[in-house]
């Protein structure tokens, strides 16, 4: 994404913050909507648009789980593995999904580059445990290994979103 595009996004909200540094996180999140992850060029564009050093911008991005500095699949599937979900079968969902999609039990991106599967910490949907979130869409559940597989299959054939909010 270009610095100008990022500026166009943050300039309208600039006045809402007493210090421009607050724009770094919104700028990063917005820059990520283009490719679903942040490249060196994206980070440089955020740096140019906000006025903070590229190293600083990168260090901020690397702190947060939902900002990706490595390429991801078209869709990112987050499987909650925290306690409430674990008690209701999250580990089984996770492992069977990983096996089915051919990624290691640490997660990863499928061979066709379509889907990244990752573990997530409590998504705030423990009432629907075990739950799964696709990008930052509304979390769904309760899942079974089968319904999780179905969800990924559906994602594969669905068109990619216009903007990647994850």
């Amino acid at each position: 994404m270009t610095a100008d595009q990022i500026r166009a996004h943050i300039d309208p909200i600039r006045h809402e913050f007493a210090e421009p540094r607050s724009l770094v996180l919104p700028a990063l999140k917005f820059a990520q909507t283009e490719k679903g992850h942040l490249t060196r060029e994206d980070l440089e564009a955020v740096s140019a648009a906000t006025g903070f050093s590229a190293a600083f911008v990168e260090s901020v991005a690397s702190f947060y789980d939902r900002l990706y500095l490595e390429p991801t699949g078209t869709r990112v599937v987050s499987v909650c593995v925290t306690l409430s979900c674990m008690l209701r079968g999250a580990d089984e969902v996770w492992e069977r999904l990983c096996d089915r999609e051919g990624v290691s039990h640490h997660g990863g991106t499928t061979g066709d580059g379509r889907i990244t599967i990752q573990e997530a910490q409590c998504l705030g949907y423990c009432d629907r445990a075990p739950c799964i979130q696709v990008d930052a869409d509304e979390t769904v559940g309760p899942m079974t290994p089968e319904s999780a597989g179905q969800l990924v299959d559906d994602l594969r054939v669905a068109p990619a979103p216009d903007e990647f909010w994850r």
Binding site: E16, T82, L87, Q121, C122, G124, C126, W165
Partner: protein, 436 residues
């Protein structure tokens, strides 16, 4: 005593209140008119104070007292920050309020802003709640269109607006100073305290930070009166609290109860449907995952701050995770240890290294490579972390682990002696799984 239906209007009305008209219909924004029309900020502060409302984010600090810590100097910019980071494992009550009743939260924030003399509020919402963020964003716009945000709110001369700020996935940004750092566009690493946010918070300005549930309680307190609220529940723990119940219960969900008038047993069995037939409750993390775990013997504890403290745990965020006797406490404890290790910000030594070390030891025990001295080692690590850290994350990491080893020591010993902890069969959803 007045009969409480609910402190939260969507619960009282029995349906979602996501448009201004519906919210008004349910009595919404009356508090704003009352406060801005008839009350001085200090009077409003006093109402908050007298209500006895305590913070619902975890620490339970009296809201009115915290608000009164902000310096009265009118020249200083002041801010209200709403903590909607809701990342505490087992907690999903703020999500309900935001999704079903965003205007009550907005109204609460404006009331808090008026009371402390702020002109801007921020809602910091966790990045994973993008769906909820959009609902809030729309509600903020609608409230502004309806004249409840912006300049000259309800023709009172008071100007106030709200900015929604999205996090990007970090539990530590729920900790108030980590949140402020993140809101300032930085890594969400907690700050040294003092100074506390009330004195030097966002942009070093006096800042009031409260949880979604706390702020949402303000409008009914104003309309129905501080005395009404204070009379709900025990003297030191007044009001209602939403408990999120999850884990091995048949009806997971949010349940609002009046503090002190409901026991843990009632919450789990009457509200949340209890555990499966033939199963018994084994472990309960009643206030989210950062509190000491309880056992079956604690089921008759009334749910309020003092009673829970008396049995050695905390009310916390009200994220009540229940495990029945099919579950494995050693594995559950390891899972929480992994959570804290993953979420440690890395700034202070005991948390960064301690959470890593604890996880490694527990993992060994689960994998069958535990040694009996590991339990003493863990206990000594607790002492090296507790009381020595920069923020409460690591205290929250120690609490469930140390309490589990105390309460369920035999399970840990068994795991060590029997070569590990087997993975139990989980409780599968009864209904066919479908994305709801």
């Amino acid at each position: 005593m007045p009969i409480l239906n609910s402190v939260y209007r969507h619960r009282e009305a029995g349906h979602v209140l996501t448009d201004v008209a519906a919210y008004r219909e349910a009595g919404g924004f009356d508090a704003l008119h009352t406060a801005l029309g008839d009350m001085e900020p200090d009077d409003l502060l006093y109402v908050f104070h007298r209500s006895g409302l305590r913070g619902r984010g975890g620490a339970g600090f009296p809201m009115g007292r915290k608000a009164s810590f902000l310096p009265k100097d009118a020249k200083l910019a002041k801010y209200v920050v709403c903590n909607a980071d809701e990342s505490e494992p087992g907690t999903f009550k703020d999500r309900e309020i935001i999704q079903m009743n965003p205007f009550q939260l907005i109204e609460g924030i404006v009331l808090a802003g008026y009371a402390i003399g702020a002109e801007r509020g921020y809602i910091y919402i966790r990045g994973e709640y993008e769906f909820q963020a959009r609902i809030l964003q729309a509600a903020i716009a609608a409230a502004r269109d309806a004249g409840f945000l912006g300049t000259d709110i309800a023709r009172s001369g008071f100007t106030f607006d709200i900015t929604l700020y999205r996090g990007a996935g970090a539990y530590i940004c729920g900790e108030e100073t980590g949140l402020l750092e993140s809101l300032e566009g930085k890594r969400g690493q907690p700050r040294l305290k003092p100074p506390f946010p009330a004195v030097a918070g966002l942009y070093s300005s006096p800042t009031l930070i409260n949880n979604v549930e706390t702020l949402s309680a303000l409008p009914p307190i104003v309309t129905r009166g501080a005395d009404w609220y204070a009379a709900l529940g025990p003297e030191k723990s007044p009001g209602s609290k939403i408990f999120s119940v999850s884990g091995h219960v048949t009806r997971p969900g949010n349940y609002e109860i009046i503090l002190g008038q409901t026991t843990l047993r009632e919450l789990i069995f009457e509200h949340a449907g209890g555990v499966r037939d033939g199963r018994r409750v084994k472990a309960i993390w009643v206030g989210g995952s950062s509190v000491p775990v309880l056992g079956e013997q604690h089921l008759d504890t009334p749910l309020d701050y003092e009673s829970l403290n008396a049995v050695g745990t905390f009310l916390g965020s009200g994220g009540c995770i229940v495990m029945d006797d099919s579950g494995c406490i050693v594995r559950s404890t390891l899972r929480l240890a992994s959570f804290y290790k993953h979420e440690s910000c890395g700034k202070c030594t005991p948390c960064r290294e301690g959470t890593t070390w604890m996880e490694r030891i527990l993992q060994r025990i689960v994998d069958g490579e535990g040694r009996m001295e590991d339990l003493q080692l863990l206990e000594s690590i607790f002492g090296r972390i507790s009381g020595k850290v920069l923020c409460a994350l690591a205290e929250g990491a120690v609490a469930p682990i140390s309490s589990a080893i105390k309460l369920f020591r035999e399970d840990f010993v068994a795991a060590i002696e029997q070569g590990g902890a087997l993975r139990p069969e989980p409780m599968w959803p009864e209904a066919p799984a479908e994305a709801r």
